[in-house]
């Protein structure tokens, strides 16, 4: 949850160079500045006579200087229409795209896939309806949480390169609509989980939304402990997948959650290493800024923890013993990169670690699934099936 996984953004997360950011602007920007200034001037005299001429004057002063942003990357990334005044009218054709960005749909998809991994690893026969309901419910809950997060963070997002093109920042949607959208995703999502799957999963979903929006988001600006809270937020979806399948919170669920919890640290700490300037300016309390040594230690520690957790999996009968063996090279590699990050503490090692974490997790989960402990003997399987059907019926009857 703490970052967006998707490729384009992680590339764009390449930090601004450490060179002193302008007071001085690149020469090519000056031309654009001139042309836009010409465009704005003819419009400004045509203001409606109103009592807020003072505010308008203030705005006029701002707009005439408003064109150029100090950073080169935003010039390249933003399109021409970004630099012009736009009517704040909701465009219905754009609405799906806007809502997709508001709900961070790609991140939501990844969250749903970790929940599916949790579901798949549960030692019960696969129930397609349950699986689909659980995935949909988790997806809706994630959309709601992400939308509320963006609702809270508008001025901060405007000031950071990574996030300044979000819909609320650009005024493409009103805050009221964002909140309504969040409610219309969150309420049905949790209801679906509670009634269509089981109450435990619903409760976990609701708790996760609360943890993300009311704990993690404000805490980002108050204390570095936010990273640990955020790691829990990331760990809960696979637990939800497991409880959706089995209806109970067993050791396997906790282990899966633990694996995702540990994974968050190398992933996020490596990413945040390159964003230190934006975090510092924006007032975010992140380990990479305030306790850089701790940041790297924690990342390494959790890479090693992943090795340990993978070894515990067969002990808990979730996977066979081939899992720790096959996953060892993958976990060793990320630990090695974690160690390099710890030792070198520079941009290239942090980027290597971050990009590794992006493929490490899906691969690890895939290997885990292929090493899943095969089903029990036929007669036991029969008992299990009838038992499960009984349970499923119990849930559906009011």
């Amino acid at each position: 949850y703490v970052t967006q996984h998707n490729r384009d953004l992680s590339q764009r997360a390449k930090p601004k160079s450490d060179s002193v950011a302008p007071p001085f602007h690149e020469s090519q920007q000056l031309d654009q500045e001139k042309t836009v200034m010409h465009k704005i001037r003819p419009i400004s005299p045509v203001h409606q006579p109103s009592s807020e001429t003072s505010t308008r004057n203030e705005l006029r002063e701002m707009t005439s200087a408003a064109e150029v942003e100090g950073s080169v990357s935003s010039v390249k990334a933003g399109s021409k229409e970004e630099r012009q005044w736009r009517e704040m009218k909701l465009q219905l054709d754009d609405l799906p795209g806007i809502l997709a960005r508001l709900s961070k749909i790609k991140l939501t998809a990844l969250v749903v896939s970790t929940a599916s991994a949790g579901f798949a690893m549960a030692p019960v026969p696969f129930d397609l309806t349950c699986f689909l309901l659980a995935s949909l419910g988790t997806g809706l809950a994630s959309c709601a949480a992400n939308s509320i997060n963006q609702f809270f963070e508008v001025p901060f997002d405007s000031n950071m390169n990574r996030t300044k093109n979000r819909p609320l920042v650009r005024g493409q949607i009103s805050p009221l609509l964002a909140v309504c959208f969040a409610a219309s995703c969150g309420v049905p999502g949790i209801a679906l989980l509670t009634l269509g799957v089981n109450p435990l999963t619903g409760a976990l979903g609701a708790f996760n939304i609360f943890l993300y929006t009311c704990c993690y988001t404000p805490m980002k600006r108050m204390s570095i402990a936010n990273t640990w809270v955020g790691a829990v937020v990331g760990a809960i979806p696979p637990v939800m997948g497991w409880t959706a399948a089995t209806g109970s919170l067993d050791a396997g669920a906790v282990l899966l959650g633990g694996i995702l919890y540990s994974w968050q640290f190398p992933h996020f700490n490596a990413l945040s290493w390159g964003l230190r300037e934006d975090y510092s300016r924006g007032g975010y309390c992140m380990m990479s800024v305030t306790h850089p040594g701790l940041c790297r230690r924690v990342a390494l520690r959790h890479c090693l923890a992943l090795i340990g957790l993978s070894t515990v999996a067969p002990v808990l009968d979730i996977t066979t013993w081939t899992f720790p063996i096959i996953s060892l090279p993958i976990n060793l590699y990320i630990s090695y990169l974690g160690f390099r990050f710890y030792r070198d503490a520079d941009r290239s090692s942090s980027r290597k670690l971050f990009f590794c974490s992006l493929w490490h997790l899906p691969l690890l989960l895939l290997v885990m699934f292929t090493c899943k402990k095969p089903f029990l003997e036929k007669e036991e399987k029969g008992d299990l099936l009838s038992g499960n059907h009984g349970r499923a019926l119990e849930i559906r009857l009011p």
Binding site: V46, Q48, M62, A66, M88, F152, S158, R276
Partner: protein
């Protein structure tokens, strides 16, 4: 924004605050609630603008000063032979970032609290205004049936 427009207009990000200014439309028959909402939004916009412009400008200034003092301590000039501005690497800048963050911590705490309050109030008012407009429209529809 053109004179005939009936909507708010949002502009490109401000040079100092990175916030996008909004010009609010004042309808002819603006209700009391609508006026309260608009004035709160305008005031919040100005308040936000002041805060972030000040933050960003002081960040740039302090950063320049920091770089200058560090370069001086190392015995280097601000520009090297090719005329490029001399820079410090990320690790040296890290001290500055940490320092800046802790110096501004309390300021951010107050800002956060105020921002959350304003954001909730504005959104709640938007809800009330939307409700008011919906009721007005329903009444108008009833009259014209």
């Amino acid at each position: 924004p053109p004179a005939h427009s009936c909507n708010d207009w949002i502009g490109p990000p401000d040079k100092y605050s990175n916030l996008r200014p909004v010009i609010f439309y004042v309808p002819q028959n603006e209700s009391l609630l609508e006026r309260r909402l608009r004035e709160l939004r305008e005031e919040t916009q100005a308040w936000n603008q002041r805060f972030w412009a000040r933050q960003n400008v002081s960040f740039q200034q302090e950063k320049e000063e920091f770089i200058y003092s560090r370069l001086k301590a190392k015995g280097l000039k601000m520009r090297d032979e090719t005329g490029q501005k001399a820079t410090l690497n990320a690790e040296e800048m890290a001290d500055f970032y940490k320092d800046f963050l802790s110096k501004n911590f309390r300021k951010h705490m107050h800002y956060n609290r105020d921002w959350y309050k304003r954001n909730f109030t504005i959104t709640f008012l938007m809800g009330q205004v939307a409700l008011e407009r919906a009721l007005r429209w329903l009444r108008w529809k009833k009259k014209n049936i």
